[in-house]
């Protein structure tokens, strides 16, 4: 091991953070770029399924809450892009990777939001699952990512409470509203569990990421936490649990549950979900339509600079 490598591993061992100017192995850097940019893209693409309901929110209060939430997601996208830029990749490169499919985003956003209840379900289950993962990432070994996670977690837990509260209003509302809540739970429960990624044995990046302490807990452990915490929440709502096999296991101290439909998981990851094409097309279309606006800013700034130089001369 070179002295640089020794120093790097000593820091990892001592739970010290790796900072942008520190030496780091190439693979560590690549792995971080993959993970952080994927996380940033998820925030950005995630604006679409929720944004889908901004113009139809059923009350002014809910409209304001949703707008503010989607705005937070965009903000998270920004911090994460910035955190990733500290690793030597530009935002435009990351956007290109997203648009060409080279970089991924969370597969959950390839499921359509079909009713108002889906907005609540996303806050409750999707943000809920994300938090379980992100809480553990607050201890990730890369400094900027860890600090970003600490900030993001605070806002996400707020979103989760708002989402749960929105679903609660439906679950305690009219029979139609309750049915809407149940339908959203039935559709989003399974994809939310898949957000933790494949089984540890199938996960391509897990082992190395654990050694580097980029990742702090395994996919299956995090998923189990989420399964456990959700049972009680569903009970409080008075809704039916989508997993008929859910059962407390005294010996393990956890709930046992059905295995997931991994064929569906891989199919959506590989681009064949309900909305994969739509999400990317939407992003590309908005980005392309914005090109003349970005060009205008550059041209304007250039004119101002030239004028200033002329005045100075």
């Amino acid at each position: 091991m070179t002295p640089q490598e020794e120093q790097f591993w000593a820091k990892i061992e001592a739970e010290e953070k790796i900072e942008p100017k520190d030496w780091m192995p190439d693979d560590y850097r690549k792995n971080l770029i993959r993970q952080i940019s994927q996380h940033a893209h998820s925030e950005v693409i995630g604006m679409q399924p929720e944004g889908n309901w901004i113009t139809r929110a059923p009350s002014l209060r809910r409209k304001a809450v949703l707008l503010s939430k989607v705005q937070d997601e965009a903000g998270h996208g920004l911090y994460l892009y910035s955190a990733c830029e500290t690793l030597g990749i530009s935002r435009s490169e990351m956007i290109e990777q997203l648009q060409t499919g080279k970089a991924k985003y969370s597969s959950i956003f390839n499921y359509p939001t079909l009713t108002w209840a889906d907005v609540g379900a996303i806050g409750w289950l999707v943000d809920g699952a994300a938090i379980v993962n992100q809480v553990s990432l607050q201890r990730t070994s890369y400094g900027p990512y860890s600090r970003g996670m600490i900030r993001i977690c605070k806002e996400e837990s707020f979103h989760q409470r708002q989402g749960y509260e929105a679903i609660l209003a439906l679950a305690k509302g009219s029979p139609d509203q309750k049915a809407m809540a149940q339908d959203a739970l039935d559709r989003f429960y399974w994809p939310a569990l898949m957000m933790f990624g494949p089984h540890d044995s199938e996960s391509a990046h897990s082992q190395k990421s654990m050694q580097w302490k980029i990742k702090r807990e395994t996919n299956d452990d995090l998923r189990q936490k989420f399964v456990d915490q959700t049972v009680k929440q569903i009970e409080v709502l008075g809704l039916e649990h989508p997993d008929k096999a859910i059962k407390w296991n005294e010996e393990r101290g956890h709930y046992d549950s059905s295995d997931l439909n991994w064929d569906e998981f891989w199919s959506v990851i590989n681009g064949n979900g309900h909305c994969n094409r739509q999400r990317i097309e939407h992003h590309v279309a908005a980005h392309d339509e914005g090109e003349w606006v970005r060009d205008a800013i550059s041209a304007y700034n250039e004119k101002k600079r030239a004028k200033k130089a002329q005045n100075a001369a």
Binding site: I54, R62, Q71
Partner: protein
């Protein structure tokens, strides 16, 4: 209900309608902006307008005292009952169109709100106090955008000039008075908007000129928002906005 109270109810409803309609139009940009920072800014401005709408409607509901709440005003009235200015309901168009509309609206509020702040009606005055701060930020943003787009590339200039020309005719009714608003202006409750056009025109002219945009002649004007005579756009907008609320009558959300 006294004439003044009835007029104030109508007035608060009109101002609420302006806010909710413009706030809705701005919200249509979320995830469609030219870059991420703009998605955030649009969300922010939209939130301010939705917040204003809630304050005006809550006050209207209080004056009406007939069991309605803010959501009844927003979701249970049809387009013929809405009283917003036509400018606010025009579709989002391209980025230049939305920013030019925003500039016209922001300058309008910049001249209107300080007058409303002087209202003898404490609630209207308090809403104005909050809105003034927001409008300061909104105007900074729309002004900067119009400058950059107007004096940017040939294409952005063309789009901005086109937007100005297309929207100009909808700005005149912003300064119209009717009996209701005259009564309130005489009582020191409402604003006499007919006196605000010069100040509005001066600010807009200065900004457009700096942006190398030609200020249009006042050759046409379309009116009708305050009497419920809208463009075809509002009906579609409200259909979308009200669908979930109206499909589930009497529900809480």
């Amino acid at each position: 209900m006294s004439d003044i109270k009835a007029a104030t109810l109508e007035y608060a409803t009109r101002l609420g309608d302006d806010s909710v309609v413009l706030g809705h139009r701005i919200s249509e940009w979320v995830s469609y902006g030219p870059f991420l920072e703009e998605d955030i800014a649009y969300g922010n401005v939209s939130l301010d307008y939705i917040g204003r709408a809630r304050m005006f409607y809550t006050y209207a509901a209080e004056l009406a005292a007939d069991g309605r709440d803010e959501d009844d005003f927003a979701f249970m009235r049809n387009d013929r009952e809405y009283r917003n200015l036509l400018l606010m309901e025009m579709p989002k168009g391209d980025f230049a169109y939305s920013q030019v509309r925003q500039l016209f609206a922001d300058v309008y509020y910049t001249v209107l709100l300080p007058e409303l702040l002087q209202s003898k009606d404490e609630t209207l005055s308090a809403i104005a106090a909050k809105a003034i701060k927001e409008t300061k930020y909104h105007l900074r943003r729309s002004r900067d955008w119009v400058l950059r787009l107007g004096d940017g590339t040939e294409e952005s200039h063309k789009r901005t000039q086109k937007a100005v020309d297309q929207l100009w005719g909808y700005t005149h009714e912003m300064f119209d008075m009717d009996e209701t608003e005259q009564l309130l202006a005489d009582e020191g409750i409402g604003v006499d908007v007919s006196k605000l056009r010069d100040a509005w025109l001066k600010m807009v002219t200065d900004i457009l000129t700096e942006a190398t945009i030609t200020v249009p002649e006042d050759s046409w004007a379309v009116r009708g928002g305050r009497t419920g005579y809208h463009t075809e756009n509002l009906g579609h907008m409200l259909t979308e906005m009200q669908i979930v609320h109206r499909s589930n009558p009497g529900c809480k959300w």
